[in-house]
Amino acid sequence: MLDNKKLWDSVLARVELLVSKGNFNVWFKPTYVLKQEEGIITLSVPNPFVKDWLSDKFHKTMLKILRELQENVRSIEYVISASQAPKEAPVFSGHMPTQELPLSDLYINPEDNLNPRYTFDSFVVGPFNELAHAAAQAIIKKPVAYNPLFIYGNTGLGKTHLMQAIGNQMKGQSGKKIYYVTSEKFSQDLVNCIQSNKMKNFKDKYRKYDCLIMDDVQFLSNKEKSQEELFHLFNYLYDNNKQLVFSSDKHPNFIPGLEERLKSRCVAGMMVDIPAPDQESRVAILQTKSRAHNFTLPREVADYLASSVEGNIRELEGLLNSLMHQSQVRGRELSLVEIKTLLKNSAKPIKNLSVKEVVKIVAGFYNIEEDSIYDKTRRKEVVRPRQLAMYILREEFNVSYPSIGQKLGGRDHTTVIHSCEKIKNELKVDNLLVQELTQIKALI
């Protein structure tokens, strides 16, 4: 299949023979192919005049030429969009000395708070987020199929993208009233309304939506009044069969300072976890992003980038951006060696820590002597860190039970298994331990 530009260029070349120069320049020159899907060519035209003109007078001709070039073409659709023509440089004559008003570019629709850039088209689906994507599609097709939909996962894995895409898609389909809000904005709104004595407005505002999307619920922790309002709002929307979508960086049960009644309501719907993406997905993401920027990313570079950053997609994007910038500055493609030197600083190397170093970090964290971990002592302040060290070695570094036992003072592998199980169970209930573990992980 020819790519969009080549295909359209050859169509234009033939049309040019048929029409006068003036006609060609006015009607055909500013058009381009937006996409081709299943034999439908979507043509971008600058204004309704061109749309009408082409569809009235040249539809058949264009279709015929398109079919000659590409057999599977069935029809042409016209979309009015802003011209792609290079925009002129800013004119600054006489303006220079005046400061610019600090108008921020707003890409967010003020009515529903959605950013139109986040769509499913740009969302890369891989094994890691398949489930979340499927759940999202399900509620779009059949709202309240899962209510609420709760998406959780670490930062930079595409939760916000997915949620915004749900909003954008729902809006496009049925013209429903959608609202996207971050929990921070929600409580800010609440504070403002309390201050100005307009609680009724607040309630009315949030209750009129058919689908409420709330991002980063974890920031509501310890904000009692906000949680209470959310609780009532939740009940109201839920009872009226309205869709709710939440996201947070962890499972609601592990969000400290979140009220039980909210937790239980959150887990009542569909819970989906977005884990870190696998290598293949990371490569796919890189390729999609680079294509969006019209930047060709050689396969081996994509592989290298993907293997040098684990987990965070945002970090991947950052790397890709610096790479594109560098190659733009140098005016050529970068070789893999150059990329490696470039990324030496920004990319986190894959961790390869020895058991000893892990023990040192854990001991340092709990402020106990490193040696005591290897000792036979069963003092309480040592047992906990020792067990945690075993758990980390097992979960993070995949060291075998026997070798953990052996390295931590010649213990039996069953002791290690017991320790890991114990920590695992405690993690489910002990928030303090969860926090400690995250902090230690950050140190490693």
Binding site: G22, N23, N25, V26, N47, P48, F49, V50, K51, D52, W53, D56, I80, S81, A82, K87, E88, P90, V91, G94, H95, M96, P97, T98, Q99, E100, L101, P102, L103, S104, D105, L106, Y107, I108, N109, P110, E111
Partner: protein, 366 residues
Amino acid sequence: MKVECLKEKITTAISLAEKITSRNTTLPVLKCVLLEAKDNLLVIKATNLDLGIEITLPVKTEEVGIVAVPGNTLNTLITSLQGEKNIILETKNNNLQISTKRNKTLIKSYPHEDFPGIPEVSGAKKLTFNSKDLINGFKSVWYSSSISSMKPELSSIFVYPDNDSVVFVATDSFRLAEKKIKVKQKKDFSQILIPFKNIPEIIRTLEQAEGEINVFLSKNQISFEVNSIRLISRVIDGIFPDYKQILPKEATTEVVVLKQDLINSLKVANIFSDNFNQISMKISAKQKIFELSTKNGEVGENQDKLEAALSGEDIEISFNYKYINDSFQSIEADSVSLSFNGAGKPLVLRGVNDKSFLYLVSPMNK
């Protein structure tokens, strides 16, 4: 075709349509107005592919038909025909012959098949506006739009409803004008962004009407329908910056001055302003000084003290003369208030006792 009609009626119609013909010569047919004679109706069409107009006139049709002739030629001819009441338009060998009692003219035509249709605004939302309100709103802000095409949303007028008002906003990111017009009925639309280049023609057309006009709004187009005229314009499918966040809520220095005094003073000061039209203002409430000063290395310098009511902190700040002066066309009150917010912060200009108009100007870098 052959039609006969009142000269007066067709003169207004042709002059309106002629304004909308294209000046660009890539496609010569766009310089034309299209005359289409139907059953006792004459439809006059013109477009520059940004705007399109369609005017329907009741006439006496003797023969239906269609012809496209250069708008400029036709308009100059018809406006120059003095003292005639009736006029006959007919095609002779595909060219247009215009005859009155004394005068007979033949204008060469263009192939009318090349003339584009004026698109219908499909799937549109219908709104009604008072034509005076719309004209007032557009006129109050449109000069503040950006002439650069870098950001289409800044080269547009932003219109949105706000409770019992309709708000018109334009900015080129150096100054901003906002006009609120009270309306009787709450309007049901979210926003309209109209390219400011189309505004003069829209105003000219709306001025033909008194009272209510119908507006049809769709994603890409807007049409204004008034009497027998239909004017369509492109609308921008974009998002205007959230300008409200930059509107200062308070002021550290306030000045109230007679508008005419300030205009006169500025006019004098501008003679000596530099290449950047820089005008410096010095305000001291304690010493009761409101002074404008300009300095041009080649021409000379000028200081001018004005009578004004002053309050707040002392301040020295410079602005572009042009930006300040532009705002007076939208301020009807006799006195204007200038609210400053410290050095480097934008100035707010308003008419005293007039909440409907607000003008924000960014200062110059020292």
